[in-house]
């Protein structure tokens, strides 16, 4: 249902758009709000009753007479639904924001159609219980994503960013398909749960794992393959950048689903865990150092994104490295995973906010270059406060949500290896420096004469940004509640491989 509604709505949108623009806007937002509502109901149910399995076209997961599941199915556990909540929130906010932001553009019908397709693709990736479906939804999300990046085709750099995105996505998706082929060759299975049960960890499995990690690492822009990310993020419309952020998090989800659920304890944990940790560290460090020398505001934030996803990888990598060791897992492994997952939602929230603010500035003054800005704080008070809020949250300053998740990561990582935690704190401080530079050059100082006429942004953009800001502050004030209700169940779901397999295969006789 959750996937079907955006998909259907996507194809209905152009039809309704023919009647009137207003009807279309209402339609888009109603369908997304309805989806969000469904996600929350499902989430409540999952936290109370455990994971859900949907089989498309039948009622039983395994038809009579077969030993293996042959139907396509969706499997939703607390981690999937957690990602679903992120997707629903950010997409709703992005749509509200787009109403004003895209006013100057043409082709609204197509814009919202693509946007809904992107939402459907992301939900599909998060909820699927089948490797091949994962590939299909990954492609849906990347094609619509690339089209959206290149949407403002009158700028010279938009199609280039879009082209980079589609090339990268196509390569990584084909790599995923190749790995799926390797699995199928060995086990004749495509279902994640069934595959996890059959997993032998042979040489071919190791190859498949390497290919999958490389593919998803490309897609989420960790450091050796991060070149596309700033180019793409900086040219996309701001609301779309926030959506792309969630799309790369969906890839991150897929990566962890594969590492934890598909391979689980059969994996050579320490090695793979360290690979993930090293990827994370490189991303953190190079991301933040590259961010310092940027003069383009959105590029700066994009490099910061690279850095923040490094933190998430660090947390989950530590968790992965100690997965086979119950004692270490209980003392700090779970906490590291929980911190990483918590940072995921925080990442989506504050980077989303920062991108939306950068978009608001671009909307008013038409440049992303920090050197040409100045004194905007006097003209756009509300926007500048929001920027400051996002920047502080991102660098982990106490009252905001970034602090809550980063402290979890530091504490647990420190017990694993103190040096990692120290690097983490150093990177955080550098992040603060980056944003202070951006803030001072954009918002403070005297009002530049050419921006005298700049006003505050329109209402719908303001609503979008303010909602994000409120969520950020709430998460920062009540981290305990968030952990209890959202991230700890998600972390446990990730660790508990058996439950996921059982959901598909039934209790093994």
């Amino acid at each position: 249902m959750i996937i079907a509604i955006p998909l259907l709505a996507a194809f209905l949108t152009p039809l309704i758009g023919r009647i009137s623009g207003k009807a279309r806007n209402t339609f888009v937002i109603t369908s997304l709000a309805f989806v969000g509502f469904l996600v929350i109901i499902l989430a409540r149910d999952i936290f109370l009753n455990g994971l859900h399995v949907y089989t498309l076209g039948a009622t039983e997961p395994i038809p009579a007479g077969y030993m293996v599941p042959i139907r396509i199915m969706l499997e939703v556990d607390s981690l999937s639904i957690f990602m679903g909540i992120i997707t629903a929130t950010i997409s709703l906010i992005a749509v509200i924001y787009s109403f004003s932001f895209m006013k100057g553009e043409t082709g609204h019908n197509r814009f919202y159609t693509l946007l809904l397709l992107l939402v459907a693709g992301m939900f599909g990736m998060e909820f699927t219980g089948d490797m091949f479906n994962l590939f299909v939804f990954l492609e849906i999300a990347s094609i619509s994503g690339a089209a959206l990046v290149a949407f403002r085709i009158r700028f010279a750099d938009s199609p280039e960013g879009g082209f980079k995105y589609i090339v990268i996505s196509a390569i990584s998706a084909l790599m995923v398909l190749f790995a799926i082929g390797l699995f199928y060759a060995q086990y004749n299975l495509l279902n994640i749960g069934a595959l996890a049960q059959a997993m032998q960890y042979t040489m071919l499995d190791k190859m498949a794992l390497a290919i999958l990690i490389a593919a998803f690492a490309i897609k989420l822009g960790t450091v050796p393959m991060h070149m596309w990310l700033p180019d793409t993020y900086s040219v996309a419309p701001a609301s779309i950048t926030a959506m792309l952020l969630v799309a790369s998090q969906a890839s991150m989800y897929a990566l962890f689903r594969i590492c934890f659920t598909l391979y689980g304890v059969t994996l050579n944990l320490a090695t793979v865990g360290w690979i993930v940790i090293v990827l994370g560290l490189l991303s953190m460090f190079i991301g933040v150092t590259m961010a310092i020398r940027q003069t383009d505001l959105k590029r700066l934030i994009a490099y910061n994104c690279v850095c923040e996803s490094g933190f998430i990888l660090l947390g989950l990598g530590v968790g992965l490295a100690v997965l086979g060791n119950p004692g270490a897992l209980a003392t700090y492994g779970t906490m590291a995973i929980s911190g990483g997952i918590f940072h995921m939602i925080n990442h989506a929230l504050f980077e989303g906010l920062l991108f939306l603010v950068a978009g608001a500035i671009f909307y008013r003054i038409g440049t992303r270059n920090l050197n040409e800005m100045g004194g905007l704080g006097h003209l756009m008070k509300f926007t500048s406060i929001l920027f400051l809020l996002g920047a502080l949250a991102s660098s982990g300053i106490p009252p905001f949500n970034g602090f809550a998740s980063k402290i979890l990561i530091y504490e647990s990582v420190y017990q694993f290896n103190p040096i990692l935690a120290i690097i983490g704190i150093l990177v955080s401080i550098l992040t603060l420096a980056v944003f202070m530079k951006a803030f001072f050059s954009a918002f403070t100082g005297p009002v530049l004469p050419k921006y005298k006429a700049v006003r505050e942004v329109p209402k719908s953009m303001m609503i979008g940004m303010a909602t994000l800001a409120v969520i950020i502050v709430l998460f920062g004030l009540f981290p305990g509640l968030v952990r209890e209700w959202l991230t700890d169940p998600a972390a446990n779901a990730l660790i508990n491989q058996g439950a996921y397999i059982e959901g598909i295969m039934g209790v093994v006789p």
């Binding site: 290149a150 010279a156 280039e160 196509a170 084909l174 398909l177 190749f178 199928y184």
Partner: protein, 118 residues
């Protein structure tokens, strides 16, 4: 498949196609050639999937009026069909983006058009 050399030829072809494609994507500067590289990569992987499902002497997996004997596996063929459809969509979008890059910059050389390095 041990010792059965003709059966391995498709796998050799797959390896060749994939390595050619990767080489093209990494080394070429012409955007159209990069697009072609990706298309070759897709072809290689589709061939890989089809080869996986092949059983020697098998017949097409259609149940009505099927002759006796082994069938080739139907699932990889379904996967390949889906992946071909997806590859077409990707290809169309990539080519249209190349056209619009060409309109803006007058060139399809990636070194010239990439203004946004670093």
């Amino acid at each position: 498949m041990t010792g059965n050399i003709p059966f391995n030829i498709p796998f050799v072809a797959v390896a060749a196609l994939i390595s050619i494609a990767m080489y093209i994507i990494i080394s070429q500067r012409n955007l159209i050639k990069i697009v072609m590289g990706i298309s070759i990569l897709a072809a290689g992987i589709n061939l890989f999937l089809i080869t996986l499902g092949y059983r020697e002497g098998g017949v097409a997996p259609i149940y009505t009026h099927a002759p006796q004997g082994i069938m080739v596996l139907p699932v990889p063929q379904a996967l390949t069909l889906t992946s071909i459809v997806i590859a077409v969509a990707t290809l169309a979008l990539m080519l249209s983006l190349v056209i619009s890059i060409y309109r803006h910059t007058g060139s399809i050389d990636s070194e010239e058009s990439r203004k946004m390095k670093g």
